[in-house]
Each structure stands twice: as structure tokens, then as C-alpha cells.
């Protein structure tokens, strides 16, 4: 284990040939958490409360069940077609033409989620921090930093994710006790008073966010074993769900489901009412949002990397770096498309588009896995061998 860690740190492998990027279990967990959590924890509560009323917190918990099949699916696919990312897995399992079509669908779904993440982050920053700054400026900054992170590669983004994960975790530990004086458990009940409909609707919306761990399939080649990929997905999903659910419960217990559904970002609004421990700051929400923003930055960087990687593999290129800047620019442009107001964004994108895109992604992975399970593909050519479109990927950046 120590030798493996040292290998990953580069010890004993100095100089010219950089080692193949590898991400560990903890880094994979942090990456998976960064995939949906930063946006979900801000925007999801309002939609879940509106859909689920008092049952929203149960619906969110129920949605966590989707994580188990998604994690298992990722592990199973990586087991069937090891050491490859999703695009190559699809090409290998489904054939060159059909595989590329399926992979393109996956990349398209990823781009939708990425554009949403950029736009949602920009709206949040505009609302809470820079009300007079045009959203396109904020989106541009978010996309630019994502391009920088993606340029440096997956390892860098994964390590930044660990740092963001730990920082936000520490922030939550400090903040959550502040909610408790306002919390009233009676606001969580009664449950199922409107039948199972609200519960299922809120669960469906939540599943659309938590299921985004399926995006880890794009970096499947960087995990040491399929088991680590599976474990990373499951742990990331559990961490996201646990913290997101806890914050939702505290928000609903503090403001009631109606109050939560009325705000665009209920957790932040409730936090504004928290009396901080020291009278140093009047408002702590800007600090908290800064922490979340840092995690959102890592999320966007990862998404830019995944998109650049997907596009480069679709184009048959080994190095994804030349695609980073165009992808980031396209992402920035796509983030400007859509509703111009925050309620519109919540209504259409958060409630409909994100669950739809996540569903397509999961379906795509399931199709690839099913095909690979029914008709096991030939093992990929060893690294460095001449590629014929279905071979191994080369050095990844």
C-alpha cells in the first residue's frame, strides 16, 4: 500500500516519463462528491420541497437508493472492459460506429450537466456576491478556471477535489450546529398525507442529482481496479446524500417545507439567520458560499476534463489537452443559453433537464454494460500498440 502511494506520488519514477494518471479511492470519492454536491445542495432543496411538501426529506432519502445500482453498474462495466474510459468501452463493446454514437450521447448528456453547473454557479454568485456583475462574466471566470484545471489533468483535479472536500466538510461541521436552535422536528411531519405522489416526484428529482456519480465512468481508466471505481462511486454518493439530506432536513425543520420551496437557495437563506459564534461577521453566507464555490470550481474543472477527454477519444486523439480550451469556450457559450431568470432556471433546468440528462447517462452506461456482458469484447491492445480505433488509450493528460 505504501509502495503504491509512493508510486503515485512519483517517488522512484522521477524525470522524463510521467506516470499514468491514477486516482486513489479517497480522491475518487472526493471527485464523485464534487460531481453533484455543490449545485445540488444549493438548488435541489427548493425543488424537492416544492414537489414533495412534507415528504421531501423522505423522497431525498429514497433517491439515495439509486446510488447503489449506479455504483454497481460502474464497477461491473469496468470489470467487463477494464482500463478504459467510457468512450473506448462503448467502442469496444458496441463496435466502432454504434459505440461512437452511444458515446456521443453520453458526452452530450455530460455537456448538458456541465453547462447547467456553470450557469447555476454563476447565478448563485450573482445573487449572493456580485449582484451588479453580468452573469456572462462570472460564467467566463468559472469556465476559465475549469479549463486551467482540466489542462493540468485528472490527477490535479482529483487532488484539488480532496482539498475542497475537506474544506467544505470542515465548514459544515462548524455551521450545522448553528441550525439547531431554529430546528423544530414537527415541521417534518406528517408524512404521506398527500399519498405517495409527492414522495415519488421529489425522489425522482433528487435521483437526477445524486445519480450524477455515473460520470465517473469517464475516468474509469484512471482507477487502479474496478472495485475502487465502484467503491468510490458508492462512497461519493453516500457522502453527497448524507450531507445534502442533513442540510435539507435542517432547512425544512427550520423554515418548514413551504418556506424552503419559496427560496431559490434555501440552505443559504436559512444560514443567513444563523447567529454565528463570534460577532466577527454580520453575514456568514458569503464565506460559506465561497467554500461551496471552490467545490463548484473543482466540479466544473472535472466536467471540462471529462468533456475534453470524451471529445478527444471520439476524434481518435490521444492527448485531450488541445480540446480543453475549445470545450471550455463551448461550455461557456452553452451556459448562457436558457432561461434568463433564476426561477426559470429552477423550473426548467433543475426540475426537468438535469434528471433527464442523468437518466440518459445511466441508460447509456447500462447499454454498454449489457452489450459487454452478453458479448464480451476482446481484451484491448496493450499500451503503446498501434491503435485501430478500438485499442487501448495512450498517455492521458
Amino acid at each position: 500500500m505504501r509502495a503504491a502511494r509512493a508510486e503515485r506520488a512519483g517517488g522512484g519514477v522521477p524525470g522524463r516519463g510521467q506516470p499514468r494518471p491514477q486516482i486513489s479511492l479517497s480522491e475518487g470519492t472526493a471527485l464523485g462528491t464534487c460531481l453533484a454536491w455543490p449545485v445540488a445542495v444549493l438548488y435541489l432543496p427548493a425543488v424537492v420541497a416544492a414537489e414533495g411538501r412534507e415528504d421531501g426529506w423522505l423522497g431525498m432519502l429514497l433517491a439515495g437508493l439509486v446510488l447503489i445500482p449506479v455504483g454497481l453498474l460502474l464497477g461491473a462495466l469496468a470489470h467487463r472492459v477494464p482500463r478504459l474510459g467510457l468512450v473506448d468501452q462503448a467502442t469496444l463493446a458496441l463496435g466502432k460506429a454504434l459505440g461512437r454514437v452511444v458515446a456521443a450521447v453520453f458526452v452530450l448528456g455530460t455537456s448538458v450537466l456541465a453547462a447547467y453547473a456553470v450557469r447555476a454557479g454563476a447565478e448563485m454568485v450573482r445573487l449572493l456576491m456580485l449582484p451588479r456583475t453580468p452573469p456572462w462574466v462570472i460564467s467566463l471566470v468559472i469556465a476559465l478556471q475549469g479549463a486551467v484545471g482540466a489542462w493540468f489533468g485528472l490527477e490535479v483535479v482529483a487532488r484539488a477535489a480532496v482539498m475542497a472536500f475537506l474544506s467544505v466538510g470542515a465548514l459544515l461541521l462548524v455551521l450545522i450546529p448553528g441550525f439547531i436552535p431554529m430546528f423544530d422536528a414537527r415541521r417534518l411531519f406528517p408524512v404521506l398525507s398527500y399519498g405517495p405522489g409527492p414522495l415519488l416526484r421529489s425522489a425522482a428529482v433528487s435521483a437526477g442529482f445524486w445519480g450524477q456519480v455515473v460520470l465517473l465512468a469517464m475516468s474509469a481508466e484512471s482507477f487502479r481496479t474496478p472495485a475502487e471505481l465502484r467503491a468510490s462511486a458508492l462512497r461519493a454518493g453516500a457522502a453527497s446524500l448524507a450531507t445534502g439530506w442533513l442540510l435539507f432536513v435542517l432547512a425544512q425543520g427550520s423554515a418548514g417545507w413551504y418556506g424552503v420551496s419559496e427560496f431559490a437557495m434555501p440552505n443559504v437563506e436559512v444560514m443567513r439567520a444563523v447567529r454565528f459564534y463570534l460577532p466577527l461577521f454580520e453575514r456568514v453566507d458569503v464565506l460559506v458560499v465561497t467554500g461551496w464555490t471552490a467545490m463548484g470550481f473543482v466540479q466544473v474543472a472535472w466536467l471540462v476534463w471529462a468533456l475534453a477527454r470524451g471529445v478527444s477519444r471520439l476524434a481518435g486523439a490521444v492527448d485531450s489537452r488541445p480540446f480543453v480550451v475549445p470545450v471550455a469556450a463551448a461550455l461557456w457559450g452553452a451556459s448562457l443559453v436558457g432561461p434568463e431568470d433564476l426561477p426559470g432556471l429552477l423550473l426548467r433546468w433543475t426540475r426537468v433537464l438535469v434528471p433527464l440528462a442523468t437518466g440518459v447517462l445511466v441508460l447509456t452506461v447500462a447499454v454498454v454494460w449489457l452489450t459487454a456482458a452478453v458479448r464480451p469484447p476482446a481484451p484491448p491492445a496493450p499500451r503503446g500498440a498501434r491503435r485501430d480505433g478500438t485499442g487501448a488509450v495512450g498517455q492521458d493528460r
Binding site: G10, P14, V141, Q145, F152, V162, T293, A301, D319
Partner: protein, 556 residues
């Protein structure tokens, strides 16, 4: 084969910018057919001549008939049954110790050799004649002869021999060992490296008394013949690491009299990185500690610094003092240093962001006070911060370059004239002075001058971005800086190691400073062959107060 634009551009740049036909760095004696020195239009062999006249003519032409070149003819005894043989003693007056030359070489050759009688066999072995010399060796190559003479050694040519005797008579003046100027400690040793590489080697040997300590000598550049010694402990430093260091050093084509910083720039993974990827230290104890961790130390002649590779962030943020104080205090000091790092990087930017964009975060009374202090100041916060930051950096730089007496005057001018007068004239606010002062003090808490200087660029960038986009902009800039530093490697080792990827066992001497008896393991990324400092933790076991025999625990 797919087109790879990045690799293509790299190849193109390498092809375009690589100088060709330069000689490689020498390592020990070069192959005989490699050295071809052109003089007066004729090529000569690399080995020395048998005829004394040829050697004399050749060394005169090689050294340009320099005025400090001393060539003295003498005689030595030949082999059994042969008469005395002509010999030539050659040294540079400016570099050799005249007393050593006179007492050891000339006397030994001219008089004592004669007195020793016929049992002395020599000339191919002229060594017995020169037993008084401290160190001598036989050489064949002109390159070795030249390097020895230029370093202060004396060479003895003997008629009819194609070998010469090189005697160590170096006697040029060097600075004595003094306390390190930039890495001084209160309780640690007061010795620092000096300009003489021989003295520095001895300093390292005194700390690491093991036969496994190896020095690998390299001579860089045909013009300056810069001597470089690569030190490592065999079995601790990974062979790949040692080989990588040597190969990077061998690639250097150095033709200027530069010091260790130039060498560091040549071998660094990212030469333009604002953070040190090759650590320069002036403390032998620190270099020795690095050796025992499995790192490699590079000593460069004429430079009072040793270079340590690989260098990670933990090394930059730790001070040698930490190992000479109680582990608890060392831990607290490290925490203070980390806090100082955060403050010095972000304080001006946070001030600008809070006063410009996020004033609602501050308590009302504090905000009103702040606004009152800024009343009448014509400049925006951003301009204030940038100007005062620049003034501070200029004062720091001026204070370093000035003699001490003038340096005090600069401090007075900086504090009174610029600070007090600027506030009185309402050019800047007093709060800004406080912020700049805190920034400066916290910057000085970070060990290492290079790290101190490296701070101001990111600080300026953070301040500028904070003035444009507030805390959001700062967060973006910090994240980009994080990406950049996370991408850095020093000889293959991640710059953030062991923080990221997180290795808890290696944090014992980075975030914390565990007691020495608890630091069982060496850094796992380096000394993989021998991962343990000691076989097991050895906490002190004081005798129990009720025990009868000292040293035994438990009740009697």
C-alpha cells in the same frame, strides 16, 4: 499515428532552441580519445607527453603563459641503476600554497629524495619521493592536469614518463565557517556552508559518518570547470533518483561562472515556478537530515549553499529550528507559519474585497469606523493596496542591498516619512497601513528567503482579482494557484506530497513535529529500501517513583 499537437510543439521547440555541438559535462577522467584541444591550429593527443619540453611548451600554451604560472625545473632520482632524471614542477602561484609547495614538493624532490638513496624506486612511481605531500595521485590526461593546476594543485612531470604526479597543495584563501545568515537558529548548531566545496564536503561527512555516504564528482563546462559534488547515502536514496540527478547535471552545458542557483535552474522540473523546487540550504545539519531521508544533496563549488532534491512543500515550510525545540512548540510554530502563509497571501485581497464588494459582511460598527478612517482618501482600496504593497517590497529590497547603517535610515524613512506622512496627508488610510504591516510581518514568519520573495507575486494577483471580482475572484485565483502548485513535481515527487496524495504517516514531521523517538519511518516516497529510522518507537521510560532499582518500572 494520431497527431499530437502538444508533443509536436515540444519537439519543434526543442529542435529550435537546443544548442548543438557543445561538449558534454565531464565526469572524472574523460575517455582518451574524447578530449581534443585545438591550439595553434594543431590537434594534440589528450594524454601528456613523455618529453619534458613538450609538456612545458604545451602547458604554457594551455594556460596562456599566465604571469602566475610557475614552472620550475628540478631533478628526481630514477630507477635502480639510473641517474637523476629531469623533472618539471608546475603550479599556479595564486592558487597554491607557496609554503606547501616549497616545503613539501621542492624539498622532498630535490633533497630528501637524494638522501633516501638507491632503495627508492621511482619515477613511474614518483610517489615514494613525495610522501610529505598530503594527497597525491598519478594522472595521464591533460584535462585532469589542468583541472588540478587550476584548482591549486601542483603537478610534477618527469622526463620519459607519460604520467604526472598531482599533489594537493591548494592554499588559496577561503572564508572561515560562520553562522548561517538566513537560516539561523537559537538552539541549533551555528555552522554554515562556505564557498570552498572541500570544506563543505567535510561538514557533511562530520554529520553523516557512514561509509555509505557517497560523493559523485562532476565537472561542468570546459571554460569554468565548475566542480559539483552529488552526495547521497547508498541504499537510502533510490538509484533512479540518483541516476536522474546525475543525468540532468550531465546535460548542463555551462560556460559561465555561475553558482548553485544556476545549477538549480538547469535541473529544476519547472524552472519558472515561483516556488522553490530545488531547496537551497546553508545548513549542513539540514543537508545531512535530507541525506538520511533518502534525498540527494548537490554541492557546487564557490557557493555557500547545498541544493536538496526532491524538494516538497513541507520542506519549504519547515524550519531547522523545529528540531531543536520541544515538539509541542515546534508544532505550534508550524501552525503559526501556516496561518502566516494564509494571511500574507490573502490579507490585502480580503481587505479590498470586503471594503469594495462585501461590506455587508462586516459588523456595522466596524464598517462605520473603517469608512470614517477612509474618509478623504482619494484612492480606491485596490489602488491603495497595490501601491502600499509595492512600497513595502521596494523598502524590503532596498534594505537588503544597503549597508546596515543606511538600512536603518531606510527603515526610518519607510516608517515615518512614507507611513506617517502619507496617512497625515490623507493619501492612504491608516487601516491600509495596518493591513500592509500584518502582511509584512506574517511574510517574514515563513522560513526561507526564496519563499518570502515568492509570496509577493500571488499576493499581488489575488489583490488585483479581488479588486475586480471580490471574494469570488479571489476564490477563482486561489483555485487556479492550487491547480498550478498541484501540478508541480520535483524530481518526480509531487510538490504537495505528503499532503496530497494524503499520507498520514509522513505528516509526522510536516504538520506536526512528533517527538524524535516517535518518528520511526522515513518519508515513504524516498527511502523505500530502508523505510525505518529506528526499529520501534522509543519513548523515555523514567523509573517509577516507587521502584527500588533505577530504570525499572512498576511497583517493587
Amino acid at each position: 499515428m494520431p497527431f499530437r499537437p502538444v508533443q509536436f510543439l515540444r519537439r519543434l521547440a526543442k529542435r529550435h532552441f537546443t544548442a548543438r555541438n557543445l561538449p558534454d559535462a565531464g565526469e572524472g577522467p574523460p575517455p582518451a580519445d574524447r578530449l581534443r584541444v585545438e591550439a595553434e591550429g594543431e590537434y594534440v593527443p589528450s594524454v601528456i607527453y613523455r618529453r619534458l619540453e613538450d609538456n612545458e611548451r604545451w602547458i604554457r600554451s594551455l594556460l596562456g603563459d599566465s604571469s602566475d604560472l610557475v614552472l620550475r625545473r628540478t631533478q628526481v632520482l630514477g630507477g635502480k641503476g639510473t641517474g637523476p632524471r629531469e623533472a618539471l614542477v608546475c603550479y599556479l602561484e595564486a592558487m597554491a600554497d607557496p609554503a606547501a609547495v616549497a616545503d613539501v614538493i621542492i624539498r622532498a624532490v630535490s633533497y630528501e629524495a637524494g638522501m633516501l638513496g638507491s632503495h627508492v624506486r621511482s619515477a613511474p612511481g614518483a610517489e615514494p619521493l613525495l610522501l610529505h605531500a598530503g594527497s597525491l595521485r598519478l594522472v595521464r590526461e591533460w584535462r585532469e592536469v589542468l583541472h588540478g593546476v587550476l584548482s591549486g594543485d601542483t603537478v610534477l612531470f618527469v622526463e620519459g614518463e607519460d604520467r604526472a604526479v598531482l599533489c594537493a597543495t591548494r592554499g588559496f584563501e577561503t572564508r572561515s565557517i560562520e553562522e548561517p545568515a538566513l537560516e539561523s537558529t537559537l538552539k541549533g548548531p551555528r555552522e554554515g556552508f562556505v564557498e570552498s566545496i572541500s570544506v563543505n564536503l567535510s561538514l557533511l561527512r562530520r554529520w553523516v559518518k557512514t561509509p555509505r555516504l557517497c560523493f559523485h564528482r562532476l565537472i561542468l563546462g570546459d571554460l569554468v570547470n565548475l566542480r559539483v559534488e552529488v552526495a547521497y547515502v547508498k541504499g537510502l536514496a533510490g538509484p533512479e533518483l540518483v541516476e536522474e540527478v546525475l543525468s540532468r547535471l550531465r546535460r548542463i552545458k555551462l560556460e559561465d561562472p555561475l553558482g548553485s542557483n544556476a545549477v538549480a535552474e538547469f535541473i529544476s522540473d519547472t524552472p519558472l515556478a515561483p516556488v522553490p523546487l530545488v531547496l537551497a540550504t546553508e545548513r549542513p545539519d539540514r543537508a545531512a537530515a535530507a541525506l538520511t531521508e533518502g534525498r540527494v544533496v548537490i554541492l557546487v563549488d564557490n557557493t555557500p549553499y547545498a541544493l536538496i532534491v526532491p524538494c516538497d512543500m513541507g520542506m519549504v515550510l519547515t524550519s531547522p529550528e523545529d528540531h531543536y525545540v520541544n515538539s509541542l512548540f515546534a508544532f505550534l510554530n508550524r501552525m503559526l507559519r501556516l496561518l502566516s502563509l494564509v494571511i500574507t497571501l490573502t490579507a490585502p485581497g480580503l481587505y479590498v474585497a470586503l471594503t469594495t464588494f462585501h461590506a455587508e459582511m462586516l459588523p456595522t460598527a466596524f464598517f462605520m469606523r473603517l469608512q470614517a478612517a477612509r474618509e478623504g482618501v482619494p484612492l480606491p482600496s485596490l489602488a491603495e493596496a497595490v501601491i502600499m504593497g509595492a512600497v513595502f517590497e521596494i523598502l524590503r529590497e532596498a534594505g537588503l542591498r544597503m549597508p546596515r547603517q543606511v538600512g536603518q535610515a531606510i527603515s526610518v524613512v519607510g516608517a515615518l516619512v512614507i507611513g506617517d506622512a502619507a496617512v497625515r496627508a490623507a493619501i492612504i488610510s491608516p487601516i491600509m497601513l495596518v493591513v500592509v504591516g500584518i502582511t509584512a510581518i506574517t511574510a517574514f514568519a515563513i522560513p526561507g528567503y526564496v519563499a518570502l520573495v515568492a509570496m509577493w507575486l500571488p499576493r499581488l494577483l489575488f489583490t488585483l482579482v479581488a479588486g475586480i471580482l471580490g471574494i469570488f475572484g479571489m476564490a477563482a485565483a486561489v483555485t487556479v494557484g492550487l491547480y498550478y502548485t498541484l501540478s508541480l513535481r520535483s524530481f518526480g515527487v509531487s510538490y504537495w506530497y505528503p499532503y496530497l496524495p494524503l499520507t498520514l504517516s509522513d505528516l509526522k514531521d510536516l504538520v506536526f513535529r512528533a517527538p524524535h523517538w516517535a518518528m520511526v519511518r522515513r518519508p515513504s516516497q524516498l527511502a523505500r529500501g530502508e523505510p525505518f529510522h529506528m526499529p520501534y518507537p522509543q519513548p523515555p521510560r523514567p523509573p517509577h517513583p516507587l521502584s527500588r532499582r533505577p530504570g525499572r518500572r512498576g511497583r517493587p
